[in-house]
């Protein structure tokens, strides 16, 4: 066990005068001001609606999408794994028989309430056939009415992979 002596500041004459520290601080702020005034591109602020963010990675959990098979049909088999895993209970699936012999089941309705969703990514983890993903890169979803925030199967299928 050793001792560490923590030096006490504020006892020297320079510290007690207070003005040197004050001018030091003012020098720092002035350097920032002059740097930004001479060239405003030094400021990292993005003027949002005009400038979109460029640092959204492929792992960013955005709005969901339903993936397609090679023949462009829906990949989902309506196994209800995502709806079971969902902590916010925002996924509503209605299953139906698949008639084209590709698979046995498919969703008749598949809707996600984005106002309920907590964007945890649990549905993506739970899906056994990679049918739901959150890689659209859409970080804002705007609508006029509450009902418009419930995305149906067609809207989810229409979402494209972002980035």
């Amino acid at each position: 066990m050793g001792f560490k002596i923590v030096p006490r500041y504020g006892k020297s004459l320079k510290d007690k005068l207070y003005l040197p520290a004050l001018f030091g601080g003012m020098k720092t702020t002035m350097s920032h001001f002059l740097k930004n005034l001479s060239d405003t591109s030094n400021i990292k602020t993005e003027c949002y609606p005009e400038m979109q963010p460029t640092d959204i990675t492929s792992r960013y959990r955005g709005v969901h999408r339903l993936t397609h098979r090679d023949d462009d049909s829906v990949r989902c088999v309506a196994c209800f794994m995502c709806a079971t895993a969902c902590p916010a209970e925002c996924i509503f699936i209605e299953a139906t028989q698949r008639e084209d012999n590709v698979d046995e089941k498919m969703p008749k309705k598949f809707s996600i309430d984005l106002l309920e969703c907590v964007f945890c990514g649990g549905c993506v983890e739970a899906c056994p056939c990679d049918a739901i993903r959150m890689d659209t890169g859409i970080f804002t979803f705007v609508a006029q009415k509450r009902e418009d925030f419930v995305l149906n199967k067609e809207q989810l299928l229409a979402n494209k992979e972002g980035n």
């Binding site: 702020t29 920032h32 001001f33 930004n36 060239d39 400021i43 005009e50």
Partner: protein
């Protein structure tokens, strides 16, 4: 009463209005933009009228309009309605009137008449300023008390205690200045500062009385309720302080009053310590005698500065979206800049070619001095803003300690030293 007298008086009053009331939107804008730049942010830059942003200045007017049209709410618990209503007016009027004695230029001579270039042509400016600057705290105290809100009351108590402890040092620092200058007339004080000491240093107050300057500037910050001494507002501790219960234009008057008080303090500091309307090394008499040299100097410097400013506009005044109407602004700003240059060059060229009457010289010298005063005032206001965004707020006990234990003994010691120097020197 003759026409010239009336004109000069009206011009003076308009100038005083411009420097105090007209400066408020500019000061609010400066405050927000400088704060943004100091903290590596942008500050308000979006608001525009037909694409004209003026660097974000339009935002100040928009905010003012918002305050005017907001609902003027008053809690039913407030019993002293008259005092509640009158206190923002007291703050505003006293800050506004204290600006009126600042000299913008040396005495103007037209024909055989001499005019004081002040809003209020009186020769006891310092006393007037002290009286009215001390009055504004009554508005804060009455407003906080009549709000029937604990936070407001705390804010007003703090404001009262602060003014008592800082006004003393402020006045004592002024006394040492008065010993040096030997006059309470602000024009005399400024003319005293137009001289030189040792032949090359301008005899500004800050050179003659550095300690008094530091004390006075510190107490002026406290007087204007600006950070680091804005414990009367103290929004991190007591919500909004004295103006918690105020809304709409009543709050707006407090707000405007604070900025006018800041501008008045800056003007007073400039007048007392930074040579007022004097250009360093160039006195009024020299300006009048060598006016053609001054005009040639302006003719050379102005286009160079304008060209640099044009480059700055082209580089920095861009809106990220290509086809936005805000992008047309730079073009028009540069056109206005070129027009101003042409007008000034034509005017001075005419003067240079055909000579100037002595009255015209006097007026032009006054204009140059007004411009100098305006630049100095803006720089001093910038210092106020700069300090606000550098220093954190003092704790209440630290503030009282600084006031009573440091500034007061220092200012008294300064009086003795000044008096000794004056007596021995005489």
């Amino acid at each position: 009463m003759n026409a010239i007298l009336v004109t000069v008086v009206i011009v003076n009053i308009i100038l005083a209005l411009l420097f105090s009331l007209g400066a408020v939107p500019i000061l609010v804008w400066v405050e927000r933009r400088v704060a943004g730049f100091i903290q590596d942010r942008l500050g308000p830059n979006r608001c525009n009228i037909a694409g004209f942003r003026l660097g974000g200045l339009v935002q100040s007017f928009a905010d003012m309009f918002k305050l005017v049209f907001k609902e003027d709410f008053r809690a039913g618990d407030i019993k002293e309605k008259f005092i509640f209503r009158i206190s923002p007016v007291i703050v505003f009027v006293s800050a506004f009137l204290s600006f009126m004695v600042m000299p913008f230029a040396d005495n103007l001579v037209i024909g055989d008449q001499t005019f004081l270039m002040q809003g209020l042509p009186i020769d006891f400016g310092i006393l007037w300023f002290l009286a009215l600057a001390g009055l504004s705290v009554y508005g804060i105290m009455l407003g906080g008390w009549s709000s029937s809100n604990k936070y407001s009351l705390l804010g007003s108590v703090r404001a009262g205690a602060q003014v008592i402890s800082y006004e003393a040092s402020m006045t004592l620092a002024l006394i040492s200045l008065l010993i040096t200058y030997g006059s309470v007339h602000l024009v005399d004080i400024v003319n005293f500062q137009s001289g030189l000491i040792f032949g090359f240093i301008p005899a500004w107050g800050i050179v003659m009385q550095p300690l008094a300057a530091i004390i006075f500037i510190t107490t002026a910050f406290a007087e204007a309720n600006r950070t680091p001494f804005d414990i009367a507002e103290g929004e991190s501790e007591i919500v909004g302080g004295y103006h918690t219960e105020y809304s709409a234009m009543k709050f707006g008057l407090f707000f405007v009053g604070e900025y006018i008080a800041m501008s008045a303090s800056s003007a007073f500091i400039v007048t007392l310590f930074f040579g007022g309307y004097n250009i360093p090394w160039v006195g009024t008499q020299m300006l009048k005698e060598h006016f053609d040299i001054v005009m040639i100097a302006i003719l050379i410097i102005l286009p160079i500065l304008s060209y640099k400013f044009r480059g700055w506009i082209l580089k920095n005044n861009v809106w990220p979206k290509a086809d936005d109407k805000r992008n047309n602004e730079s073009k028009w700003l540069i056109r206005v800049l070129i027009m101003m240059n042409i007008v000034i060059i034509l005017l001075f060229g005419y003067f240079l070619l055909f000579g100037v009457a002595s009255t015209a010289t006097n007026i032009a010298v006054a204009l140059i001095q007004i411009a100098t005063f305006a630049v100095k005032l803006l720089l001093m206001n910038f210092v106020f803003v700069w300090v606000r965004w550098t220093l954190p707020r003092f704790r209440y006990d630290q503030l009282q300690e600084l006031g009573w234990k440091v500034l007061l003994p220092l200012s008294i010691a300064n009086i003795f030293i000044t008096a000794l120097v004056v007596v021995i020197g005489a």
